[in-house]
């Protein structure tokens, strides 16, 4: 736009980051192998809650006792429940073509999940799985993980998603 008072020009800007997942890389490799892996710190005496703490998303270091965490637990077949959800009708640029989608937080049953309510998505109309209507979604309902087949070099947290594990 040519305007003597108010000239506006286009300035595009593209970047590619060569990003490292560092010490939590096993989580992402796990997704490739259709596994959900968390880390666990068993130093319960050193935690304010006096409980073992599960980390999902995983952490390589415990924020409560500052220990390095080496222990991974395979949660793939664990019971999962819906902690909360929203139905997104709008999104950031990269996800606009996917609306509406259901963004959720996941509760891992049987652990102190204070630090562990994984953010993910819920698919309620997948062929071959239990189908429910959006208005039937309930906090506390059982859900189970499913995995997308993505090449390891472009794996992201979005390689796992959830489907209902019971009819409401």
């Amino acid at each position: 736009m040519a305007d003597n008072n108010n000239l506006i020009v286009d300035l595009p800007y593209h970047i590619n980051y060569r990003h490292s997942y560092g010490k939590v890389s096993p989580y992402f490799v796990g997704l490739k192998n259709k596994k959900i892996l968390g880390t666990i710190c068993r130093n319960k005496e050193k935690h304010r809650s006096k409980t073992e703490l599960l980390f999902l998303p995983p952490r390589a270091d415990c924020p409560e006792c500052m220990a390095e965490i080496k222990e991974w637990v395979d949660l793939t077949d664990n019971e999962f429940r819906l902690y909360t959800y929203t139905i997104a009708y709008f999104a950031s640029e990269s996800f606009l073509n996917q609306v509406p989608y259901i963004l959720i937080n996941v509760e891992v049953v049987g652990y102190d999940t204070s630090y562990s309510k994984l953010t993910s998505t819920l698919v309620i109309n997948e062929q071959g799985e239990i189908n429910i209507k959006p208005e039937e979604i309930r906090i506390g309902m059982k859900i189970k993980p499913k995995f997308r087949d993505v090449p390891l070099e472009s794996i992201t947290a979005n390689s796992v998603y959830f489907v209902p594990a019971e009819k409401p």
């Binding site: 139905i87 709008f90 963004l103 204070s114 309510k117």
Partner: protein, 454 residues
């Protein structure tokens, strides 16, 4: 603790917030606000002599992605003619502005400076709305949350779903916050949604009713378009001074009685859900009883622990025992209607779980779907977001917390009629005011408590 230096605010300036300020660069916007701060605040000596006394500068902006200019603090200090003073840039997401006021306070309180300019801005209109949402979403965890489709409205919506589940809050109570704030903004000429704002767009300005909010376009269940603030372009400036100097420069300096800030986990997903967590973190306020909360999961997804921590610090410093009885005017961070209700509880204006009751305490005309009065007093006592808040003014991130502070400052000076051009939103005889500035699902919150220093 600390020395006995006191810090006061002597001036404030704002630009009109707008969806797009194509007519000015960021530094030009800041100059607009700074000019108002220096020249329109009834300073007792020549404003340029005051400017020559400035010995510290805090610059507040959120996002290098939006601005496309790193080290913008240098541009601002230079453009305002404030070199070679000491300077610092503050960034804390949505709480950037409040944290900048706190940083300015600390500069003066410590004795490192006597007169500090706190200048904030954001220009969010130079990228598309979807790209802007993405830039804001990059202020959430980019390994685990953003890549699954996370963005801020959705995180707050997921919190609101859980807040409703825990406490029985209703979408109607949320919508009432939208009605209150948006309609207040119609009397604030600096607000983006003010229909008389020269930059206003028809579809995003003007009065609204309860029905309008409840029927507005769905954004992220349970939040609708009129439950949410939007991005904005704008700037705000506050001038802080050591108290004895402040008295020489202003007839009505406003004393900062308390400042506080708190933090919480980066990922919403990682918020502790320990029973009795509020007591475990020593976050009980003086007027509350431990038995209210010993069985409550805290903070969970329903409460902002950072907001409570910030409030507790600021109240302790200011000697506030019961906020509802002592504070008359509040500007709090209502990025979403749900978060305003949640914040009533964090600030101790309502018991946890009873934020909905506080909004219901103001007389409401069910037939018309509006409050019986503009800027209603909640619980018959406290006016919350008279300026229209973020929902009315919208959110030029780095400017917002400073703009809120300026609004409370003018309220305490009873200069709202002068600056807004009408008396509607002026709270009668206010003694004590509070500013609440909040970031990223409550990762950072700053609270500032101010009262009349004259």
């Amino acid at each position: 603790m600390g020395n006995d230096r006191k810090v006061a605010m002597i001036a404030g300036g704002l630009t009109t917030f707008a969806k797009a300020r194509r007519d000015a660069t960021q530094e030009e916007l800041v100059m607009e606000a700074a000019r108002m701060a220096f020249f329109n605040n009834d300073l007792l000596i020549d404003p340029l002599d005051v400017k020559r006394m400035v010995d510290g500068v805090v610059v507040s902006y959120f996002s290098d992605h939006f601005e496309r200019q790193l080290l913008f603090g240098a541009t601002i200090r230079d453009y305002l003619g404030l070199n070679p003073n000491q300077g610092v840039r503050i960034e804390g997401g949505g709480a950037t502005g409040g944290l900048a006021i706190k940083a300015g306070y600390e500069m003066v309180k410590s004795g490192d400076a006597d007169l500090v300019v706190v200048a904030g801005f954001e220009k969010m209109s130079e990228v598309s709305t979807a790209k802007g949402n993405e830039f804001i979403a990059l202020a959430s965890d980019t390994d685990f949350d953003f890549p699954v489709g996370g963005y801020y409205t959705a995180y707050y919506a997921a919190m609101a779903t859980r807040y409703i589940h825990e406490f029985g809050i209703t979408e109607k109570q949320m919508a009432k916050v939208g009605v209150k704030n948006r309609n207040n903004a119609q009397y604030n000429p600096f607000a983006q949604t003010n229909a008389k704002n020269p930059y206003a767009t028809k579809s995003t300005s003007g009065f609204v009713t309860l029905k309008d909010v409840l029927n507005s376009e769905k954004i992220a269940y349970p939040l609708k378009r009129l439950d949410c603030c939007l991005m904005s372009d704008g700037a705000a400036v506050a001038i802080l001074a050591e108290e004895s100097l402040a008295r020489k420069l202003s007839k009505k300096p406003v004393t900062i009685r308390g400042v506080g800030s708190g933090t919480d986990t980066m990922r919403l997903a990682d918020r502790p859900t320990w029973k009795g967590g509020l007591l475990m973190d020593d976050l009980l306020l003086p007027h509350e009883k431990p038995e209210w909360y010993e069985n409550m999961v805290y903070p969970g997804f329903h409460s902002f622990r950072a907001g409570r921590k910030a409030a507790k610090m600021a109240y302790q410093m200011a000697g506030i025992r019961n906020p509802l009885e002592e504070i008359n005017v509040v500007e709090l961070h209502d990025a979403y209607t749900s978060s305003e209700l949640q914040t009533y509880e964090d600030l101790g204006f309502a018991r946890y779980g009873e934020g909905g009751k506080l909004i219901d305490s103001a007389p409401f005309d069910e037939e018309k779907g509006i409050f019986k009065e503009v800027n209603p007093a909640l619980a018959g006592r406290v006016h919350i977001n008279p300026s229209g808040g973020l929902i009315g003014c919208m959110h030029a991130v780095g400017a917002t917390g400073i703009a809120q502070t300026v609004s409370v400052f003018w309220q305490l000076q009873e200069k709202i009629p002068k600056f807004y051009g009408n008396p509607v939103l002026q709270v009668k005889n206010p003694r004590m005011g509070l500013v609440h500035s909040h970031a990223g699902t409550g990762t950072d919150v700053a609270v500032i408590v101010m009262d009349r220093g004259w």
